[in-house]
């Protein structure tokens, strides 16, 4: 935008000269600069308002992840538009700038390989949706709730309230376990009972416990699996299903109830056993009882 010189600019030029910056800025340039700054400031504020408005509008209509994503994309697009408009106001030709940026990109690209990889991985993760905001995932030894899914990384909040940043590149390459993807979960209780116990009686007790516990789903039905004849005990697995949100409570309840029922009915859960033989025909070991 070209300004014609009006007579009233002349006092402004003198004021700028008196400030000592008259050699660098004339009045016209100062006004253009001011315009660009105002465009930038107002534009950024508007971009913020519009993007949060979009986020609020979508919050009740779509998932949390979709509305956050829409809000971010709107903000980035508007910020880029505002910046381009401000730059244009300053008189720079955007075409030339973009050309220069093309050359710079190659140089920056080499330096920013990791960030670019993270960015692309992030886009693929968003498209593939192995998890969404609020899911609980396990990556190697870290378990936590997804706090945010950002351009370059995913942030987790662990159960002891620590903040973990996982680069998208690492997530795309590694195995992720999503604990909250499906609506029901199975708890596998591993237990051992003494060899002398009657397995059909143990099985009946376990199924009765599952039946009495309201959190344990009737269907899919609980599962009783005989694992093996172990070193010290008969190794069993008793699997019960629960609604995802009740998993932790069932985990604690059912194991406590099993222990209690076994104690009441005299079912022994043995400690590890070692049997000593001194030969094929062993004499009884001599034992001396000492009064204390």
């Amino acid at each position: 935008m070209r300004l014609t010189v009006f007579s009233r600019w002349i006092p402004m030029n003198e004021w700028l000269r008196s400030l000592g910056i008259g050699e660098w800025f004339s009045a016209e340039q100062a006004v253009i600069l001011l315009q660009a700054v105002i465009t930038l400031v107002v534009g950024l504020v508007l971009a913020r308002l519009v993007s949060s408005g979009v986020g609020r509008f979508l919050a009740s209509r779509t998932t949390r992840q979709a509305s956050t994503l829409a809000r971010r994309m709107t903000l980035y697009v508007l910020v880029v538009l505002v910046a381009a408009s401000a730059v244009h106001q300053l008189g720079f030709k955007l075409g030339v700038l973009l050309g220069a940026a093309g050359v710079l990109t190659v140089a920056v690209g080499f330096a920013a390989q990791t960030s670019a990889s993270n960015l692309i991985s992030g886009l693929f993760l968003i498209a593939e949706r192995p998890f969404v905001l609020g899911d609980i995932i396990r990556v190697s030894d870290i378990t936590g709730e997804i706090h945010s899914i950002d351009l370059l990384s995913v942030k987790l909040r662990t159960f002891d309230n620590l903040y973990v940043r996982l680069p998208n590149e690492e997530l795309i390459k590694s195995r992720i376990t999503n604990l909250t993807h499906f609506p029901i979960r199975r708890k596998d209780v591993q237990l051992g009972v003494a060899y002398k116990e009657d397995l059909s009686k143990v099985k009946a007790i376990l199924f009765e416990l599952a039946d009495r516990n309201p959190l344990c789903l009737d269907e899919p039905a609980p599962l009783f699996i005989f694992q093996k004849f172990g070193d010290s005990a008969l190794e069993l697995q008793f699997s019960v299903w629960a609604l995802r949100e009740n998993y932790l409570e069932l985990n604690n309840n059912i194991q406590q109830e099993i222990k209690q029922a076994f104690d009441e009915r005299g079912i022994e859960i043995p400690f590890p056993h070692r049997t000593l033989y001194a030969g094929s025909a062993t004499e009884p070991f001599p034992v001396r009882v000492v009064d204390r």
Partner: protein, 277 residues
Amino acid sequence: MSGADSAPKIADRGDDSVRWWGSFSIDADSVLRWRVGPMRMWLARTDREWRVAHERGSDPFESALEAAELCRDGCESSPGAVRVRFGFRSTTDMFRVLPALPDRALIVRPEEPIHLPSGEESILFISIPLWIGIHTGAPSTPLYETPIFRPSDTWFGPPTVAGGSCYASGTRARSSLEDLALLPQRAVSVVRILNHADSELPLERIRLPSPNLSLFASQDGQLWTEAVTLERKEDGQSASIDLERGPSGEIGPTELLVEPREPMERGLLMRAFDGLF
């Protein structure tokens, strides 16, 4: 334990059976007690609070029944009971106790799987566990609701698809009403199943949409839902559920007690076959 000087006012139904539901009144600073099956519930009122306490026994088929007994010394709730308090600007003495059907669908199995040949029908009698609800004020608004006996959770459908959370009915569906134990804490639903498809229908389980059903009371104090018809369509893949206006006529005159939690349009509702059987 009820005193003649402050007998609770129960709506007169013209016969002797005790009904644990209805309109009652309670003086301030007094306690009324209910026993419905395994549940014991205490209700107390002060000028600015309603207080509810309840505890459950371990036998869901206990058949105790007492309503609005005035609680004097020695009948307070035990320390293990669940207690809830509600604050009000001021309380009135009138309140209602109403039954309610479960808030999730109910999965019921017949005593043994039944096979329905093409073109045949079967009638099953299903016993549904009830919730007890307290409604206070004028107009009466719901205050508190709890199951009389917490039914077991169960799942209907594939384990990977959300939305299948249901309750297990706790009893088997019976082919004749006489085989069904009629208890105050359970309502009865009569379900007719029709098989219009060419192939046989193996009936191993039924998903009864309890939140869409209403509750009716017959003259003897038994609670019923409206009659339900489940039809398997000719294509064998789709099924429909149809609700009558009330329980079937053989039961005798009934009155509507409670509307459905979630109304369903009267008439046919097409569902996938897998959604009902």
